[in-house]
Symmetry: C2
Subunit: 151 residues, 2 copies
């Protein structure tokens, strides 16, 4: 049934094939070096972004190859600006209250491919190339690895 | 280039073919009736959900056929419970401060196929079948129809 295996949740093998960029692929074959896409937003586009009372906006990260939702975290104006300038996802860690350049510690960086803002300007969507084993600190590829109900 | 046309952003025709459920498809062919999937979460699963200080949790809606991110909105405990029980997306409208059974006014309902919670339990992901023309009040299929930078 399609409910059991939807296209955006490909087999482990497919994920490995599609998303293993950044890994070594063979004895003599080095990984390709990932490069982020620098984005220069217009002032109109920046003005459309609405931060909440804490100065934050939620940012969804979606895998550019599989469409899988990798994670959702928060950005402040500074981390958003850094994300555009570096082409790498930079969040604001609410628990640590500091800038969080994704992958600086884990090595699992996220490289920007496309960036969108929604109709209200209060949620952002980044299509990214995920480096390494995945986005989640648990070792899972996606933070959304647990489903409700019996499956 | 793949950046220009990623799989999760299919052609208009593909979207029409894949996601036109709920419409009439011909003179004598009525639309198929969509049915939501009722989910019975375990108490452990429900306990894992963390609501913010306003009693809300963000919920991402993703198209089950194309993987497109349709929207992000908020749920309180009641709307989450209704979503599980009805198999239809029910949000909490922060602007109107009321339950928002998506599609009751517009006709563009969202029927649940799968539901996930993230590692921190503070963001939900629903894979849905989108009825009608789309999720956005502007008439766009996805609320994320505007991109940053020149594309």
């Amino acid at each position: 049934m399609s409910r059991e295996r939807t296209w955006w949740k490909p087999s482990d093998h497919a994920v490995q094939m599609l998303c293993s960029v950044g890994r070594r692929r063979g004895r003599n074959q080095m990984s390709s070096e990932l490069v982020g896409r620098v984005i220069v937003p217009s002032s109109d586009q920046l003005d459309a972004v609405t931060f909440n009372s804490d100065g934050l906006v939620p940012a969804i990260a979606q895998c550019s190859q599989t469409g899988q939702i990798l994670m959702m975290a928060w950005m402040n104006a500074e981390s958003l600006s850094m994300t555009f300038a570096e082409g790498r996802m930079v969040y604001w860690s609410r628990s640590r209250q500091e800038l969080w350049r994704k992958g600086d510690t884990s090595g699992d960086r996220q490289f920007v491919r496309e960036a969108f803002y929604d109709c209200d300007g209060d949620t952002l969507l980044f299509v990214v190339e995920q480096e390494g084993k995945g986005a989640c600190h648990t070792g899972e590829r996606s933070c959304f690895y647990r489903s409700f109900g019996d499956q």
